[in-house]
C-alpha cells in the first residue's frame, strides 16, 4: 500500500513535468509550423537527374522532385496533399513566341497560389512570405522568342514512372515533348528483375512468321501456377508485343507500378485495406509463369484499394520480328471476400466474368493511342459460368477462352487507325 502511494506520488510529479513538457512541445510545434523555412532550391540535387530533349530550336529540360526534396523545398504539407512539383526549363531559340500549356502536363494542375495555400501556417506575414515564395518559383508560361525560362509546375502526385508532357502552344503551331521520368522513392517490382540475364542468349527464339507466333501463343499453358509449377490459377489472357520502351504506353494510359513487398508497403496496404482508402502502388501477390513470379505488376486503382484492375506480365524468351513478347494475366478486383488461404483471412474478389478486364485494357490502351493493332487467339479454353474454374485464392472465373494479343506502339495511333488483325493473315505491324 505504501509502495503504491509512493508510486502514485512519483507518477504525479512525473506527470507534472510531462505536462509542462507537452505544453512546451505543443507551443514549439505550433511555432514550428508557422515558421516556413525551406531549404534553398539550389542546394538540392534534382538537377542532376534532369532529362533534356531538343527539337527545332526549342530545348526542354525536366526533373521531378522526390518526396524528400518536395518537403525540403516546399514544406511537409505539400507532400501530404499529394502535390508533386515538376521542374522545367525551356530554351526558346526560335523567332516565335510560345506558351507553355500547364494543362497539357496535368489537366488538374495547381496554380502557385493554390499550392501555397496548403502550406499556410498562422499569421499573415508568414503566409504572405509563403505566397511570394511559391509565386517566385512557379514557372512563367509565356516564352518569348530568344528567351529561357525555368520554374516549377505543381502537379498531382504520381509515384514510380511519371509522364511529363510539355506542350508548347504557338500561333497555329504546337510542339510537344514527352518525358517518362522514374522518380526515385518507389521500389517497383520490375526494378528487382535483371531483364538482360533472364534468359541465356541461346534460349532466345526469334519468330518471323505470324502462323508460328500464333502456334506459340496458343500452345502456351492456360493459367498461372503456384511456385512449384503445380495447380492452376488465373487465366493467362494477355500477350503484349512491343519494343523495349513501348511499355510506356501503360504509363501514358495512367497505370501505376507496383511496390515490392516490404515492411513499409505492407503497412500502407494494411492501412488502406482497413480504411478502404486508395493506395495505388500496393504490392500484388506473386503468381507464377516460367517458374518465376511476375516481372512487372501494374494496376489502376479507382476509389478504393478494393476496386482496381491489375495485371501481371512475364517476359517470354520469344522475339517476334525484333519485338519482345510478354505473357500476361489481367483481372478486375471488385471487393473483399473471406478466405482461409491468406494470412489475413481476406482476399480480393475478382470479377468472375474475367474477359471484361481484358477488353477494358484493350480499350484503355487504344484510347491512350498506345495500341497499334490487336487480335484474339485461343489458348485458355472456354469455361462456362455454370462450371467455373477457381483461382488460387478461391475466386471463381469463366471465359470465352481467348487471349488478347496487343501490339503496342511507341508513337501515337489514333483510334480510327487501330486495326483488328487475323493473326494468320497479318502481314506487317
Amino acid at each position: 500500500m505504501s509502495n503504491k502511494n509512493r508510486a502514485d506520488r512519483g507518477t504525479f510529479s512525473t506527470d507534472g513535468v510531462l505536462r509542462v513538457a507537452i505544453v512546451l512541445w505543443l507551443a514549439l510545434g505550433i511555432f514550428g509550423c508557422a515558421s516556413f523555412a525551406p531549404v534553398p532550391i539550389d542546394s538540392l540535387d534534382y538537377m542532376a537527374r534532369a532529362q533534356s530533349q531538343e527539337n527545332d530550336g526549342l530545348k526542354v529540360t525536366v526533373s521531378v522532385l522526390t518526396r524528400h526534396e518536395t518537403r525540403q523545398a516546399f514544406g511537409k504539407k505539400l507532400d501530404k496533399r499529394l502535390i508533386q512539383p515538376v521542374w522545367i526549363e525551356i530554351e526558346n531559340n526560335t523567332e516565335r513566341d510560345y506558351w507553355l500549356m500547364l494543362h497539357g502536363l496535368d489537366p488538374d494542375y495547381f496554380s502557385a497560389r493554390e499550392a501555397a495555400s496548403v502550406s499556410y501556417g498562422f499569421g499573415r506575414t508568414t503566409n504572405q512570405r509563403i505566397d511570394d515564395y511559391f509565386d517566385e518559383l512557379g514557372i512563367d508560361p509565356a516564352l518569348r522568342a530568344g528567351s529561357t525560362r525555368s520554374g516549377f509546375v505543381f502537379s498531382n502526385l504520381k509515384q514510380g514512372t511519371k509522364e511529363v508532357r510539355v506542350r508548347l502552344f504557338g500561333n497555329r503551331d504546337l510542339v510537344e515533348f514527352d518525358f517518362f521520368v522514374t522518380v526515385p522513392g518507389l521500389r517497383a517490382d520490375w526494378q528487382r528483375v535483371d531483364f538482360d540475364s533472364l534468359y541465356p542468349e541461346a534460349d532466345w527464339v526469334d519468330i518471323d512468321d505470324p502462323g508460328e507466333l500464333r502456334r506459340y501463343v496458343e500452345a502456351f499453358m492456360c493459367c498461372t501456377t503456384k511456385k512449384d509449377g503445380s495447380k492452376s490459377g488465373d487465366p493467362i489472357n494477355l500477350v503484349i508485343i512491343g519494343s523495349e520502351d513501348s511499355l510506356q504506353g501503360f504509363i501514358k494510359a495512367g497505370w501505376d507500378e507496383t511496390e515490392i513487398i516490404s515492411v513499409g508497403s505492407s503497412w500502407r496496404t494494411f492501412k488502406s485495406f482497413i480504411g478502404g482508402s486508395e493506395y495505388k502502388y500496393s504490392p500484388i501477390s506473386a503468381l507464377y509463369v516460367f517458374k518465376r513470379p511476375q516481372d512487372i505488376g501494374l494496376q489502376k486503382a479507382r476509389d478504393t484499394i478494393h476496386e482496381r484492375n491489375h495485371l501481371r506480365l512475364w517476359l517470354s524468351p520469344v522475339r517476334y520480328r525484333g519485338n519482345f513478347v510478354w505473357i500476361g494475366a489481367i483481372s478486375r478486383d471488385i471487393g473483399v471476400k473471406f478466405t482461409t488461404r491468406a494470412w489475413n483471412l481476406t482476399t480480393h474478389a475478382i470479377d468472375p466474368q474475367v474477359d471484361e478486364a481484358r477488353m477494358y485494357l484493350l480499350e484503355d490502351l487504344a484510347t491512350a493511342q498506345s495500341l497499334a493493332a490487336f487480335a484474339f487467339v485461343g489458348g485458355v479454353g472456354p469455361v462456362t459460368p455454370e462450371e467455373p474454374k477457381y483461382n488460387l485464392l478461391g475466386s471463381p472465373w469463366w471465359t470465352d477462352g481467348q487471349r488478347a494479343v496487343l501490339w503496342l506502339s511507341a508513337t501515337p495511333v489514333p483510334l480510327e487507325q487501330l486495326e483488328q488483325l487475323n493473326v494468320e493473315s497479318q502481314q506487317g505491324d
Binding site: 497539357g104 470479377d351 484510347t367
Partner: protein
Amino acid sequence: MAKHFSQYDRVRSIALPALAMLCLSACASFDPVPLEELDFPQRAQTEQAGDLRVSVSVLSREEARQVFGVDLHKRAIQPVWLEIENRTERNFWFMMTGLDPNYFSAHEAAYINHFRFGGKTNREMDAHFSELGIDQQVRAGETNSGFVFANETVGTKEVRVRMYSSNDLRTFEFFVSVPGVVSEWNQKDLALIARQATIRVETDEALREALRSLPCCTQRENGTGEGDPLNLVLIGGISTLKAFIIAGWDEAVFQQDFRSLFGAAYLYGRTPDIQFQKVRRRVDSVNRVQLWISPIRYRDEVVLVGSVVRSIDPDVDGAAQYVAEDLATAGAVARFGRIDGVGAVSRDAPRKNFANAPYWTLGDRTVLEISSEPVELDEIELFPWRWNRLVGRPGDE
C-alpha cells in the same frame, strides 16, 4: 439494482440479435421492377449515322432503384441505358471507356451493393445486373440494348457512344439532362433572352469595338458597384454549354452557395444566365465561371460575357488561362485572342470583389470563339489582335 439491470441486459441480449436478424432479412429483400413497367425508353434521345442508330436515356435515382432493386446513388453509380442498332454489314464494338473511363463492370456494380448475409439474394443480384448490362459486341444486323454502370454526374451528362470496327470509328454524342436535378439557370428562358440582341457585328474590328464598351466588372442588382472582373468572352451559344460539359465542368446547381461564397453578382440587371464550376478538393478550391448572354451578336452567334475565378487565387489571369487551355484541349476552341478589359490591377494594390476577396490582373479579357466541330490544338487560329500581353510586343495591336 445492479441485478435488475443485468436481467434486463439478458433480455436485451436476446432481443437485439433477433431484431437485427429480422431487419437483415427485411433489408435483403430484392424486388426489382420489370423493365417494361418503366418509361425511361420513351424519353430516350436518338441519333443515326448511316446504318448505325443509337438511343440513350439516363435513369433518375428512383428509376435506378426500381430497375436494380438497390439504391445505386449511394455508391454514386448512375446507370445509362443504351440501344444500339447495327444495320451495317460489319460487327461493331461499343467502347465502354469512351462513355466513362472509370465505368463499373456489371458484376462490380452488383458486388458493392451486396447484402451482408444475403448469399442467395446476392447471387440473384449478380445475375440480374449481368443480364441488364449491355453486350458490347453489336453484330451486323443486330440490335443490342442494356445498361452501362457509369459514375454519377449531376445536371447535364455527356454520353459519348464510340462504336469501333477495325479501321473505323463512329462517335455519337448526347447531352442528357439527368431527371431530378434542375439547375436554377435552367429555369430561365435563355431563348427569350437570346432574342433580345441589339448590337450586331460582322467584322473582328467591330467585335472588338463592341467588347470595349462592356462594363469592367460584375455589378450589384441596381447596376452599381464593381465585383469580379469580366475577364471572359465566349462566342457561341449552345456549343459553349456543350464545351464546358465535355471539359468536365459541373453545372452549378445551387446558386445559393455561390451567393454566400462569392456575393451575388449581376449584369444587365440579372443574376448569371449560366454557371459552371470545378471543385478541387485537394486544395479546397473552386474554379467558377459565371456567364451572361450579352446583347452582342457576332455573325449571328451569341456572345457570352462573364468572369472566371479560382476561389483561393487572386491571380484571375491564371484562371482565365486555365479555361482557355481546358476548352482548347477538349477541342472546342476555334479562335483565341485577348483584348483590353478591366484595366491593370497590380498585386501591390489589389482590388476587391463583392465578397471582399482580393484580385489582380494585367487587365485583359480572354476571347474564345467556340466551335461545334472538334478543333486540334495546332489548328487554333488567333484573332488579329495581340494574343497575349506578355508574349506580344508593343505594336502588335
